[in-house]
């Protein structure tokens, strides 16, 4: 994956988010916003447990989900918390479909938007099987380059960079640094996968209900996540897709279909000339 970096290639790093020890403090959300200068995009009360950020997006790169399970006064309440983030897929659809080359694979194996290249075409947004990346509609900060055709909003897409700048400086990403329970663990991906397996075994030995790893399998639809999870329920409960697939996996077939349709179009036009001009 990192062959093109040659000797500059680094060990692939990522996150293992162990939701079984998440306490919902949102330190990761705050640390991420602060370090990456992610702008404030409105303060609302959703009424959805302790969650007022609701989803990942252009202005939320870590999102803590809160799920309250069980009927009040019948069952004991089970309160699930999970800090979601860009998955930095091994086969990343956003990167594949980006027509400008703005989205790149870094030497650490992470997926990053080069904001000085992005022209806001928006293709990566529906390409992402997790709904992570999004366009920023807040007012643009830098002066317009060509005033006549420049828009007032930022207009580019944004997402987690896995703190590319911090990695360059030899530091762990801000969210992992701030996490008080080590629910967010940062490190070489291979180490994290081993650690996750051991953690799962331990939880299963303790009869933990619903514990499972999500995104640790290199043979899944996106070739494994760079940022994977230990969940306590099915993925969709947390708003995650049960079987995500990189859309470009099917692209060779789609190009073949397009070629056949192109031939059919030419044949169809030619057929219309049978019988002359009248």
């Amino acid at each position: 994956m990192l062959d093109s970096y040659g000797t500059e290639a680094k060990e692939r790093v990522g996150f293992f988010t162990d939701t079984s020890v998440c306490i919902g403090c949102k330190a990761c959300e705050v640390a991420c916003k602060e370090w990456n200068l992610v702008p404030e995009d409105g303060l609302v009360w959703t009424g959805e447990s302790y969650d007022n950020t609701s989803e990942l997006g252009a202005n939320t790169w870590r999102h803590v989900a809160f799920i309250e399970q069980g009927e009040p006064e019948v069952d004991a309440l089970r309160w699930l918390m999970s800090s979601d983030v860009c998955k930095h897929c091994t086969h990343a659809a956003c990167l594949d479909v980006c027509p400008t080359g703005s989205l790149i694979r870094t030497e650490y194996g992470t997926v990053v938007v080069q904001e000085d290249i992005c022209n806001g075409c928006g293709y990566c947004v529906p390409a992402c099987p997790f709904g992570v990346i999004d366009k920023r509609h807040l007012p643009r900060q830098d002066p317009p380059a060509l005033p006549l055709i420049t828009k007032k909003e930022d207009g580019r897409v944004w997402k987690c960079t896995l703190c590319y700048d911090r990695l360059k400086g030899g530091h762990e990403p801000a969210c992992a640094k701030a996490c008080p329970t080590d629910s967010i663990q940062f490190g070489p991906l291979d180490d994290l996968r081993e650690r996750a397996e051991r953690r799962l075994e331990k939880l299963q030995a303790q009869n933990a209900n619903g514990a499972r790893l999500y995104g640790n399998d290199p043979d899944d639809g996106v070739g494994g996540f760079g940022a994977f999870f230990l969940l306590l329920d099915e993925p969709e409960v947390y708003g995650l897709p049960p079987d995500p697939v990189v859309t470009t996996r099917d692209l060779p077939g789609m190009w073949r279909t397009a070629a056949i349709a192109t031939g059919a179009l030419i044949a169809g036009v030619a057929a219309a000339f049978v019988g002359g001009s009248r």
Partner: protein
């Protein structure tokens, strides 16, 4: 079915109204280039000239629509910074740039009536890239995580292709006298029929994922598309041969139907992204999961 507070799993596309209109103009322009070439080869000069003018007009509008949709329009040239076969938008940008240049050169030289050989070469070039231009937009939207687009990847190129044939036929039917517009009329009628058959087959094969194409705004556009395309085709078929007025009215109606068809497909994508069930249910079935299990909170006593 469970999801997180009923929220979508996917993001809705951020594309605006320019994009379905581009699907329409791209199809119209691309298929008109092909029409122009075949007309020239078969010796129908009037049809060849009018259709290349339609193509160049459509190909001039298309880049403006795309530019206007960008979040950073001043960076539109970044599209031509790389060529990526993994990105149908990258491939399409090159196709559009090439077709647009070729069709405008050919139309200009045709109109001034000079440099006939160059004009014909440009026409050949624009037809060669016009055919994929009319189809690739289907590949572009199929290559997303949007359920009703990705799962419709086997049919959408044929739907967009037949819609492009109908559009090009309809436009030329309007501007070419009936005595020379026979092939255009047959394209209009044939394209409209094929497109409706493909749409029906697509919805049937998609099963549950066919629903968004029939519901809400997408459903309204689909009904409009069906009525206008079949109505326009009927008008062209019954009166287009004798009456210029019937041909023009039928052509206009058919063009409206083709625009509505593109809008219908566009809106269906948004609707399927908005409702998490269209993302989660097919994925659960694909992965072989059973129905969602009821997790019992009282047995969740794992000590850390």
């Amino acid at each position: 079915m469970s999801s997180y507070y009923g929220r979508p799993v996917l993001k809705e596309p951020v594309w605006q109204r320019e994009i379905p209109w581009y699907f329409f103009t791209g199809g119209l322009g691309g298929a008109s280039s092909v029409l122009s070439l075949v007309a020239r080869v078969s010796g129908n000069e009037l049809l060849a000239q009018r259709s290349i003018q339609i193509a160049s007009a459509a190909d001039a509008v298309s880049p403006l629509l795309l530019l206007s949709d960008l979040g950073r329009p001043e960076r539109f040239l970044n599209m031509l910074r790389v060529f990526k076969v993994t990105s149908p938008m990258s491939v399409g940008s090159w196709i559009l740039a090439y077709t647009s240049a070729a069709s405008s050169v050919s139309a200009f030289l045709n109109t001034i009536g000079r440099f006939k050989r160059t004009a014909d070469l440009a026409r050949l070039a624009s037809a060669g890239s016009g055919a994929p231009l009319a189809v690739y937009t289907a590949t572009l939207i199929s290559d997303t995580a949007i359920p009703v687009w990705h799962e419709a990847r086997h049919e959408l190129p044929f739907l967009f292709g037949s819609s492009a044939i109908a559009s090009a036929g309809a436009a030329s039917t309007i501007v070419v006298p009936p005595s020379d517009a026979g092939p255009a009329r047959r394209m209009a009628i044939g394209g409209a029929i094929v497109e409706n058959v493909v749409m029906k087959a697509m919805e049937k094969r998609l099963g549950m994922l066919g629903e968004p194409y029939r519901q809400g705004e997408a459903g309204n556009y689909a009904k409009l598309a069906k009525a206008c395309s079949l109505g326009g085709a009927a008008l062209i078929g019954l009166g287009g041969r004798r009456s210029r007025i019937a041909a023009a009215a039928g052509g206009t109606l058919l063009l409206a139907g083709e625009a509505a068809l593109r809008w219908s497909v566009f809106k269906a994508g948004f609707q399927s992204a908005r409702d998490p069930k269209y993302t989660v249910t097919p994925q659960r079935e694909r992965a072989g999961y059973g129905p969602p299990s009821r997790t019992r909170p009282d047995s969740a006593e794992a000590s850390m």
